[in-house]
Amino acid sequence: MFGLEITGVTKAFGAHKAVDDVSLAIPQGEFVCFLGPSGCGKTTLMRMIAGLETPGDGTISLNGRDITRQPANVRKFGMVFQSLALFPHLTVGENIAFSLRLQGKDARQRKARIEELLNLVRLPDMEKRAVSQLSGGQRQRVAIARALAQEPPIFLLDEPFSALDAKLREEMQIELRLLQKRLKITTILVTHDQREAMSMADTIAVMGEGKIQQHGGPLSIYRAPANKFVANFIGLSNLLPVEVLDRETVRFGANILKVASTPEPSASTQATLSIRPEDIQITSASQQQDNTVACKITFVRDMGSSVEVHLDCEGADLLSVVQPRDWTGAGAGDIAHLRLPQNQCRVLAA
């Protein structure tokens, strides 16, 4: 296969399995995000791909060649570290030329490549600057240029934007995505920020407890989370305990609800119904429709651009986000009727 292939990779630190039997194929030129909470194993997986950590079990191969035991300095996958790891004793140009010096490129070749890369990351004429003289965003660009200098087969980024303020972070995300599209380089980015992952990646691998919980396009993951973990981690989800009646019907307390049909019959009768807050519609009491439940409003937050309504539904907490123009203006203690559209209600394992 052309691209990076990870098969059954496991890594344990003592008794703790940081990465547990992970398999993943990344086609050439794709931008993948490893997304998950801290401690989910995403950084360990990336470090194994870079060769900084050796898998306890499993194989990693690049373009069909097994590289599991190859050390990092032979793989030479360009990597941007969370701390950026710019060499403080070298100038911007010397940092970028580090890999070129190791390759034995002469001064003229190095100079040409430094200029090319500095133009690429939009930092022309910064070659002679000391790293300490740069702003946060400039350092970021230098780290990216340095990792790209060796024309790596795979480009790795470990939470590269976590130290930047919100505005600069968004700018850098767009810039990196454009750069990646231009260079058509296989890129893996580790992040805990779902917004970052959603806005940049071709595919997202959601990680939790050392495993890949779901791998797919950003929208398909958002629309159809595969399990409770993904539903909870990506965006906000309402999770309700339900009893499965058949492949399209569940019971929630006293209510019978129609749900999007599951591809295979549920193994147990106990399940979880997941629905996004923005998919819940609040209707007036008079309308009697299918899939409606009556709830008590506990708290209303008017955010201006949207209204957050917190509700108590048969003992379960529920959140609905509605547009201000659709909001009836009810307050805490009032009864609201919620309509849960059938194809937005997904049944997940309990």
């Binding site: 035991r69 300095n73 032979v74 010096r101 190791l102 034995g104 490129k105």
Partner: protein, 297 residues
């Protein structure tokens, strides 16, 4: 900057194996050096303390306890007790001076801080031999100290301030002070300024804050510093020899007398082993009492 040519690289190597090879290469020489020059001499000292003392500075290997028996006389025990009292006194006073000094220095502007550090480091260039000499000059009957005391009316007739216990104590404090300030500097400079600030917003005075908030936070380094001083000064030799009366003489002088004057190396070794054992005992006691604190330099 020079170009570094690309070397041909071995592709498939086990990192754990290479690490071991590298480690052996790195540590072989240091291990040999430390074994020959620290383990062997230490073992020798131990063996020597059980050896038999012959006339004329000679000795024969043996396993007798004669030397240790000699240590049980009241005279030696008195000297040992005095040595430890002197060392602990030095520790308490020098840490009491060094801690606030290091704290104030670490709060200065960079230039002032660097100046202080250079000054402290430069004073380390003064050998203990010369420090002792300077104290002789300063404390002599015609020295600056006596003149100052006379001018202040604190002294009626000019006479030399040494040999005396005070001179020994002051000189020892002098010898360790720059080291202890430098030892405490890293710990003290790491202190978070917001913590004393928080105490003062709750109404604590600067002195109260210093005593009840700042000092307890750096208790570990302070204790380590104190123990370090005890270790350094308990075997002191030059200072009490020159500035003290015979009753101010320490184990250090006893050991060197046994070794260099009497030529009784086994006795000197036994005294040295006893000194180190007492020291280790004190260390253990302090650790046990405090429940924490290490003596890493």
């Amino acid at each position: 900057m020079t170009d570094i040519p690309a070397e041909p690289k071995v592709a498939e190597v086990d990192p754990a194996r290479t690490d071991n090879v590298v480690l052996t290469g790195l540590l072989a020489l240091p291990a040999l050096f430390l074994t020959v020059l620290s383990l062997v001499p230490l073992f020798l000292l131990l063996q020597l303390s059980f050896a038999h003392h012959d006339e004329g500075g000679l000795w024969t290997p043996s396993l007798e306890l004669t030397q240790y028996a000699k240590l049980l006389n009241p005279l030696f025990l008195k000297v040992a007790a005095f040595s430890f009292t002197l060392a602990i006194g030095t520790a308490v006073v020098s840490v009491a001076i060094a801690f606030p000094a290091a704290y104030f220095i670490s709060r200065m502007r960079r230039r002032a801080q660097v100046t202080w550090l250079v000054f402290l480091l430069s004073t380390l260039s003064l050998s203990e031999v010369l420090i002792v000499f300077s104290f002789q000059v300063l404390l002599s009957g015609s020295g600056a100290m006596v003149k100052a005391l006379m001018a202040l009316g604190l002294m009626s007739s000019a006479h030399s301030l040494y040999p005396s216990f005070g001179a020994v104590q002051a000189c020892l404090i002098y010898v360790v002070l720059p080291y202890i300030i430098l030892f405490l500097y890293p710990a003290v400079s790491q202190l978070d300024d917001d913590i004393p600030a928080a105490a003062s917003t709750m109404g604590a005075s600067p002195v109260w804050t210093f005593l009840t908030v700042t000092a307890p936070i750096v208790r570990g380094p302070l204790l380590s510093a104190g123990l370090l001083v005890v270790i350094w000064t308990v075997g002191t030799y030059l200072t009490p020899l020159v500035l003290g009366r015979p009753q101010n003489w320490t184990i250090g002088i006893q050991i060197s007398n046994a070794a260099m004057t009497t030529g009784d190396l086994p006795l000197a070794a036994a005294q040295a082993v006893a000194l180190v054992s007492l020291m280790v005992g004190l260390l253990g006691l302090t650790r046990w009492l405090s429940g924490s604190g290490s003596v890493e330099p």
